[in-house]
Symmetry: C2
Subunit: 204 residues, 2 copies
């Protein structure tokens, strides 16, 4: 396909729309910005904008998602799904976000955290992953058990991410937030593994 110029221009347009949108969202809040404005500010027609991003929401949520099902599917031979996930998030907390544009990610988190509609949106995203994870887990634990496990795991991961984002959105430096995350991952997965009865200070 020759690394076409066409593809590059497309990518570039997409980025321009996304950046303009994030800038406006960050400045005035998600709901106060209309897609018409974004399109105009990006020098593009509304139809074109919707060619790149299916919904207004996707402009803000683009690139925000995990892949729990993939982690489980790609786990090593002897590993339980839970152990694989624990290792995954443990590593994520330790090594930080990695190679992404940190500044852009922080704006994204800020924008999302500032809009109830968007946090609802990311929760909906997690719900989709729950289904994928359930399908994966039902291979190992058929019936309702797999679905329950998927739901609980997703709930825990969602909570972890939420706490992490809240910290970032309120100005906690990335380094420190990552450190908190590391501890919280252990807490969350211990809770999943051993249940509420393992909590100290409570009788059964």
């Amino acid at each position: 396909m020759m690394a076409g110029l066409r593809e590059r221009k497309k990518e570039q347009t997409r980025r321009r729309i996304s950046e303009v949108a994030m800038r406006l969202f960050d400045a005035r809040g998600y709901e106060a910005v209309t897609v018409n404005e974004i399109a105009e500010a990006a020098g593009v027609a509304k139809v074109t904008l919707f060619n790149y991003f299916p919904t207004k929401e996707s402009l803000a949520l683009d690139g925000v998602m995990d892949d729990t099902a993939a982690v489980v599917a790609g786990r090593g031979e002897g590993r339980t799904p839970l152990a694989a996930l624990r290792e995954h998030y443990r590593a994520m907390g330790a090594r930080g976000v990695g190679d992404l544009d940190v500044e852009a990610m922080l704006t994204k988190v800020r924008v999302i955290a500032a809009s109830p509609a968007l946090v609802a949106g990311v929760q909906r995203t997690h719900a989709g992953q729950r289904a994928a994870l359930a399908a994966e887990l039902e291979d190992v634990h058929p019936g309702l058990t797999g679905r329950l496990m998927a739901a609980q795991i997703t709930a825990a991961v969602t909570t972890l991410q939420e706490a992490f984002f809240q910290r970032l959105a309120t100005g906690v430096p990335l380094e420190e937030a990552g450190q908190c995350l590391v501890e919280e991952v252990e807490l969350a997965f211990d809770l999943l593994e051993h249940g509420f009865s393992s909590i100290k200070g409570e009788k059964s």
Copy 2:
């Protein structure tokens, strides 16, 4: 206040709108029905409809919600939150739906199950309850632990309800579905209480 005629008419109008809406939803599917149609068929203006129901979604989801936070808040003195909830759902499964209009409830379930948007809506409702439950649980388990527990409990309850609704929507008789629910409640709460490591057939 005197049991006014005004109040009665209001109630009546509200019911009429709701019933007309459910009838149309059931016949043609949620998304294929416009609020204009509903308003017209109910002999009411669109504005009036939105006076009674804040959104189109609320027409279909009205009356579909649990009260986990209330159950926890009103639990007996020595009880743990989890025990109170287990008891609550155990009882719900055993005694059936109770005094509600079963036919209407079945239609509602059918309509909801047939529309992804509505399923997402009820999940969003559960997310709201998760927050309330988290606030309740943080009194007992401060910090992230309470939030994690709330998230896991809500996830489990959501899954139970989903399975129950799916059964009803696919024609399983109420009696039998209730029986399944009873067993599944125990499974779900055991899992919450003792964790994934308690599952037979898996090494820790």
